[in-house]
Amino acid sequence: MAVNRRIFVSGTAATLAAPALIPSHAFGQDKVIRFTMAQDFTRIYTFVTSEYSQGQRDYFTLINERGGVNGHRIQADVADHANDLPRAIEAYERGKREGAVLCDPLSTPVARALVPRALEDKINLITAFSGRSDAADGSAFPYVLPLSINYWTQAGLIVDHFAKVAGGSLRGKKIVFVHIDTPFGKEPLPILQVLAQRQGFELVTFPYTPPGNDQAAIWPQVRRARPDFVMFWGAGVGQTVAMTEAIRNGLPMDRVSSSVWMSESDMEVVGKAAAKGVMKVEPCASGRDPKPIKDILAEVVAKGKGAGPEAKIGTAYYNYGVQMASLMVEGVRKAFEKSPNGPITGAWLNEGLRSISNFTAEGMLPPTTVTKEDHQGGGQGRISQWDGTKFVPITGWFTANQDVVWGEVKKYSEEFRRTGK
């Protein structure tokens, strides 16, 4: 049959109309807690999302296999929003209609657009490593929960670690900050400027044009500036290019550090041996040693219920996914402790999430305490170093420079409070 115009048009119309006509499956189980996990699998975050999402789903499977929380199963509705606002908002509204109490978009532009809606609809918006950094202020953003260290804190941790490496003081040292020239890349600047003034180091910044696949002009300048320490701030392709250029220009890699956005997959691009020594901020333990990962391997993957390729288990972003999922589940647990009979709503879960205290997911996370004021969870992380095959922690869990971070958080959250309502 040759496809002509009429067949094409009517066939397309029938396909597009089909979802509206087929009744969607009403899930019989009433003991379900729904999370909306529309994330970007196809546009910008791509492999980050697929590893992150795999970790989340494996952890939820682990919890559900063990009988759920208080007899309730956790159902994560995973979809692709491609970092596109109409699609993300449609997914959010769909989730809301189906009774979702939590939404995790893992995308800064989407999180920004969802903030006013989530505050209005009382749906918990998880903005780990994305969205507004000032959402750490829980009193201004009751339903927006980063539950993890924001970029300002990450910058503060790195500077603090540099100071330790330099023997206690950074006075007279030079720190070079290489960043992607976008709002995300410029975000740590106010923190670094305050710290430079306070601790007496010289801050030199080099922006590169997004997406950062050519930084050849920047790094020779970095070398010529003779930095004592280098921080590079980017995402995706910019990170691997930055590392490659740093190595090519002969910078001492054990004086170079990145934010949380660096993973084993990046190292394969750069060259595992060449990148030896480079540091990153870890929001949770990586590798397969933490207890939850071992449990997932034994109880989920061994039974053939894993959500994705087994090789990815234990990689950095997979573990970030497990970290966030474990915090969400802990929030559900706390919510049941507070009001065992529900009803299961966004407000109910919000109470639970905001009373997580000293939670470590059996040693995988830094002690995380979320309060009604502090949605960052205490601001603890650690620095780890690439040894050629894996990331090895070189500090314990610690927090630093939180007064500067909170000064900046308050500045923007006040501004939001003044005009956002």
Binding site: T15, P116, R132, P183, F416, K421
Partner: protein
């Protein structure tokens, strides 16, 4: 049968000059309008906020772009930047206490005055070269916004839209914002319908077909090319502020990047260049085909218990979407509006096959 015509015959000039000369067309358009007005009472909030509001806003923007591309034949790859100028201007004004009614107009004027500067390139270059000039506008505006903290809003680069009201109605809930978007879309569509039968519209058509032929006929190409850019950018600016107020509620530079421009371009081309109905269909297809295809894949996967890995599940709709757009361009290069027009032409004399026009 429906149109009660076997060929179009008018006996009075007034009849022929009407926007919709046929009674059935008028009936159809009024019923669609009535349905749209009744939508908040008939439909769940989910359809309102998830589908109808974005559809109306993107359609309004595509209509503005279509005036330039379909009406005057000037390509524009920076329409997202035009909307950004309108959005940022009006949001900053609203935050400074200016009522939305004026802020919207000011946003439109600002877009128009900046848009016309880049539009001036159209006086010297055409086609692919004009595409490059407008692309430059996209990147320059993006750069200026994200590099100026006073515009973008500091290190977080997000500005919140304060609560606003339009003509005394507070735009808080979905119903109010929906009616506001509908009102703006209605005005723009009405304007676009009427442009075609004014001297302005005819001059644009002359410029579109051959600019020097138009000049020989006495149509000032200089004036009408700039005017086309001015009007289209004005509409873009106003729609930008509607987008910010009704839909985004917090604006940041990345919302107005090249992706938005390309999306609008696709809506205009798939919908039908130069048609008023086209952008409505084009916006619906470009905005919702990915969503619907995604849900369809999800539905098929869960109903038949297929264990498709999520990566593949996310990419199948993209493949289908690409095939869909190519298919429409292949089978109906004149756009979705032409499909409707074919149907209408067929029904015009149905049940007969042929009739004198």
């Amino acid at each position: 049968m429906f149109y009660r015509r076997a060929g179009i015959r008018h006996t009075r000039y007034q009849d022929e000059r009407q926007l919709f000369p046929l009674g059935f067309d008028r009936f159809l358009i009024l019923s669609v309008l009535a349905l749209l007005i009744a939508a908040p009472f008939l439909l769940d909030r989910f359809y309102l906020a998830g589908y109808l509001i974005p559809w109306l806003i993107w359609t309004s923007a595509a209509l503005g772009l279509n005036l330039l591309m379909g009406g005057a034949g000037q390509i524009h790859l920076g329409y997202g930047a035009v909307m950004a100028i309108g959005a940022y201007t009006s949001v900053h004004l609203v935050r400074a206490g200016v009522p939305l009614e004026f802020a919207m107009i000011a946003g439109g004027l600002m877009s128009a005055s900046i848009g016309i500067v880049f539009g001036a390139a159209a006086l010297r270059v055409k086609g692919i070269y004009l595409a490059m000039a407008t692309l430059a506008m996209q990147y320059i505006v993006d750069f200026v916004i994200s590099q100026t903290p006073a515009i973008s809003g500091g290190s977080l680069a997000t500005i919140q839209v304060p609560p606003v009201s339009f003509l005394g109605i507070s735009l808080r809930g979905d119903t109010e914002t929906y009616y506001f978007a509908l009102f703006v879309c209605f005005l723009i569509a009405l304007f676009m319908l009427n442009v075609g039968r004014t001297s302005f519209g005819r001059a644009l058509a002359a410029v579109r077909e051959k600019d020097y032929a138009a000049q020989i006929l006495g149509v000032s190409v200089f004036k009408y090319k700039l005017l086309a850019f001015w009007v289209s950018s004005f509409i873009g600016g106003v729609v930008g502020s509607v987008l910010a107020v009704c839909y985004l509620r917090a604006i940041s530079p990345d919302q107005f990047h090249i992706e938005l421009s390309i999306q609008l371009l696709a809506m205009v081309i798939v919908g039908g260049l130069g048609s008023v109905l086209g952008p409505f269909f084009g916006a619906a297809l470009i905005l919702f085909a990915p969503i619907v295809l995604n849900n369809l894949t999800g539905l098929v996967a869960t109903s038949f218990g297929l264990a498709i890995p999520i990566d593949l599940r996310a990419h199948i709709p993209l493949i289908a979407y690409g095939a869909l757009v190519i298919g429409f361009l292949l089978y109906e290069p004149l756009g979705l509006a032409k499909i409707y027009s074919n149907l209408r032409n067929y029904m015009l004399v149905w049940p007969f096959r042929h009739a004198q026009r």
